[in-house]
Symmetry: C2
Subunit: 559 residues, 2 copies
């Protein structure tokens, strides 16, 4: 098989008209096979995606194909544990927890132009004309960012086509599809607008705090239609917009449209964060329901989330975010100790819910986490005001899922708290958190000692009554996975994503309740999670990914 | 002198119509004199206002009279170091740093109704009819919050009049002026709208995330005109709205109108914070310039700020905020160790500035801090990439002001950082912070050990280019005052307010620069600040305030 990238290099000799499709290969980076990685390090998450080596940031190009295979691309520098030499890495999964690494999907056209964030769609109806004989043609839409002489140059929007279901791509000969001289114009996210039978792109005029909305009949010719400008928190730049139709539980309409905008730097907690706005969308214009600003995550490690393309708006949407923060991501200890940096968030199920007083809230909870349960470690359906102490050092993955639920609450018994601590029996380091019924939820990573930085904030909290304890319950759940912790309150009405770095593995869990009224009930369960990467590793712990070039649901190897 | 409060008690015997003017005196709380306080404790700020004893929260009723005397009232529970039994405490100042404690100004009408936040105005033109023979009549507008059987009851808006310039008040016989059955309806802030020759009140429908705008010709009869709803961050409640006309430096118009809304709980950093919106105001309707949300302070201890009434909109406005956070204010160690809790922020000069890309920013810098300089401790006009180490244990106040300025920056030399640390030579505890040219500013209180709490976040940061280094300078300044630190970047384009609690006094300062280009200049100055409370204390350290009942610029003692 000749790699598409090398093919493009050959093609570009043909003539100037195809010059934009040239390809540059960073020395030493494999082109025909996935990059091998070792996932056995102490900080390596076991149910979260992280890159085989080096540096990853934003999720890109996420789509699910007709056979239910999820494709995740990602901002990837395969040559350093810091950002810079940006490509699109690639991985696939059937369950969103067990990932098969694939070859790098998008290469840079030269050594001073980088492939920045973007999206991908399946052009089922061949609107583009690229796919006359197939219904699974994939178009990636991405930003090329030039840095001539290391200075920021133009950012333009480009497309590439894949005839093998998303594994290999050809750059479009007439790129860019949206030209620009701006150095701050990026991150196209494309969706199919069914009522209008056309494509819609949202992308960021980053320094203008403006999201441009473009339309196209064919993914090649784009027409600017409107802008959403100066909404919510500004920070210093808008990035990675997403527009998606999403169910609205108990809402005045079955679905609504959700516009997510990531901001960096300048989030209230420092660095990067994502905010969202629900509203109406008519195919060309988005109008938020109100002028309020809502933040997607209450901690500091959730940015640039993207929704999988290919899920109908009447079904819960599925997203993955980058679980780090630009304020410290390039300094975290996984770089020097294990040769990689950054992980994705858990896959999340998302929908809107009508929420007491604040109108609506974006629900975010783990996607079918029970798929990676390996063992029930503890379960108590009537814990009362006590706690469970659990030694989980024998859980190979070091990854757990837990739930604690208070039920049978009444207005006069809506009191009490649920608390948890994960600690190291060796060093005493710990992370902790909890939630008060109808009150605050908090997280604290301040007692882990392998990393510090002026921006590595220790504590995060959220308050929300949302649906509150109105239905008689108050719940918290979470996943701990080596160096990342994610928490969910009341079925995902609030969520917090927090990385942490302890000098010794955390191996002891305590979870319990306090101050609960006598007639309320507390149930707690804890499950061990799979070591999804170990199953893919050879005897040396090396994960080679899809090294044979086999293709699921594609027509790989056509060239 | 018969106290007004006692007079009201007598009056209320006359008939039912005056029942609302009854007064309840908490046992043991002095009615005729200020409450005495001892300001010598290790945590007591020396240039910030803090209450003589017990618990303080929001600033209230702030106005400056025709002779330049500033009146500060404040939410005050004189009977506990936690909130609950709310009165209006009172103090006056000519320089906003040296405060004379006054008698409690507003008492509760009974033991289950409390005096919540509000404002005060001087009715120069006697629009109210209360002041036929004077131009310095003061009207306080405040919320009475009932808690029958300890459950939340109605919150209504009420007024009281002062004929002696703001020292003693009579409750209006026909209170409330705005009745309600809502338990979440409070914090009236009143201003005179000169173009319409009428009064304007903004107040919070707290649980509806709505600010009501009312008008009145006479401060007694109020007409609802409009609402500003669901703007910016919502948190769980809107509180303490403020509307003020304010200069707009380099703006498209000389002044703009600023609407500030405090939210609590549910701020992005947890607990309480203030956001602001600039826009146009026509006397009845406020329309923000954009849909963006802007936060007034990047740390966690700045809430419920109020602007002094009586300053023309074409002049810089002056504000004071409560420098704490509801997430932990009732647990901080000053309660058990020194018998008081909470301090106000420094007085701040505020105006709008046109800011690169984000449109406008609210500038907030200390009000004439040089008024309380006592000594220049260090000054270096050409520090370069080095630092100054300063033992300030001999500064009696323990309070310092510092400035560090980088000048002669060009686009190619806009690099480097300014850093500072204040530490204890005994315990090694410290607070630290700094700023990177055109980059992040940070604060860290995580290395002080006298207090911890799940919500006592250690680190805060901000990023903003705003005017950036465009004018060739990048500056940071700050005040440390025993247990509170406030920092200002680029003349107040960014500001952060942070309380901290060390087990030993901080007595050593290091401030310096790093990474500054050779052709840029660094200047640093440090000044000792006055111990403003010591000057008012007797030999035992007791501050009695205005115990003789003397009145500045009023007609005290008319009864």
């Amino acid at each position: 098989m000749l790699s598409v990238a090398r093919l493009l290099t050959a093609v570009c000799l043909v003539g100037d008209v195809l010059a934009q499709t040239s390809t540059y290969f960073s020395p030493g980076v494999p082109t025909d096979t996935p990059i091998a990685g070792n996932y056995t390090g102490a900080y390596r998450p076991r149910v979260h995606f992280s890159p085989p080596t080096e540096f990853m940031n934003d999720p890109n190009g996420m789509f699910v194909n007709a056979d239910g295979l999820y494709h995740l691309y990602y901002q990837y520098d395969p040559t350093a544990t810091v950002a810079g030499n940006q490509h699109w890495g690639h991985a696939t999964s059937k369950d969103l927890y067990t990932w098969e690494n694939q070859k790098i999907a998008l290469w840079t056209p030269n050594n001073y132009t980088f492939v920045f964030s973007g999206s991908a769609v399946v052009d089922v109806n061949n609107t583009s004309g690229f796919f006359p004989n197939q219904t699974n043609g994939v178009v990636a839409i991405y930003t090329l960012a030039q840095y001539p002489n290391n200075a920021p140059g133009p950012q333009t929007q480009n497309i590439a086509t894949s005839h093998d279901g998303g594994y290999t791509f050809d750059a479009y000969a007439s790129n860019p599809v949206i030209d620009s001289t701006s150095t701050q114009f990026r991150d196209p996210k494309v969706l199919w607008y069914e009522p209008g039978q056309h494509w819609v792109m949202v992308l960021a005029f980053a320094a203008d705090f403006s999201i441009g909305i473009y339309t196209s009949p064919n993914l090649k010719d784009w027409t600017p239609q409107s802008n959403v400008t100066n909404v919510g928190l500004l920070g210093l730049q808008y990035e990675c917009p997403n527009l998606v139709e999403i169910p609205w539980e108990d809402g005045p309409q079955e679905t609504a449209w959700l516009l997510a905008i990531s901001i960096n730097p300048g989030a209230p907690l420092g660095g990067s964060i994502t905010q969202y706005f629900a509203g109406d969308f008519n195919g060309t214009h988005f109008e938020p329901f109100d002028r309020a600003a809502r933040i997607a995550d209450f901690a500091k490690d959730n940015y640039a989330g993207q929704w999988f393309s290919g899920i109908p708006g009447t079904e819960s949407q599925v997203s993955i975010a980058w679980a780090s923060n630009w304020q410290y991501t390039q300094q975290v200890p996984t770089g020097p100790t294990e040769g990689w940096r950054s992980q994705m968030s858990l896959p999340r199920v998302n929908y809107l819910k009508n929420a007491t007083r604040i109108g609506y809230v974006l629900v975010s909870e783990p996607y079918n986490i029970s798929a990676v349960y390996t063992e029930e470690l503890a379960y108590n359906s009537s814990l009362g005001n006590s706690s469970i102490l659990l030694d989980y050092s024998s859980v190979e993955s070091g990854a757990l899922y837990f739930e604690a639920n208070i039920t049978s609450l009444s207005p006069t018994t809506a009191v009490g708290a649920l608390n948890f601590t994960f600690s190291s029996s060796i060093s005493g380091e710990y992370i902790t958190g909890g939630t008060v019924v109808n009150g605050d939820t908090w997280l604290d990573r301040g007692h882990t000692n392998a990393f510090d930085n002026p921006f590595f904030t220790n504590k995060f909290s959220a308050t929300g009554l949302y649906s509150g304890s109105d239905n008689g319950t108050w719940t918290i759940s979470g996943v701990i996975d080596r160096s990342i912790f994610e928490v969910f309150v009341n079925g995902g009405e609030q969520s917090g994503t927090m990385t942490f770095y302890a000098t010794q593995p955390l191996d002891t869990m305590r979870i319990g309740a306090a101050g609960i009224a006598a007639n309320a009930t507390v149930s707690v369960g804890v499950w061990a999670l799979a070591d999804t990467w170990a199953a893919l590793a050879d005897a040396n712990g090396t994960v080679r990914g899809n090294a044979t070039g086999s293709v699921s649901n594609g027509t790989y190897g056509r060239m």
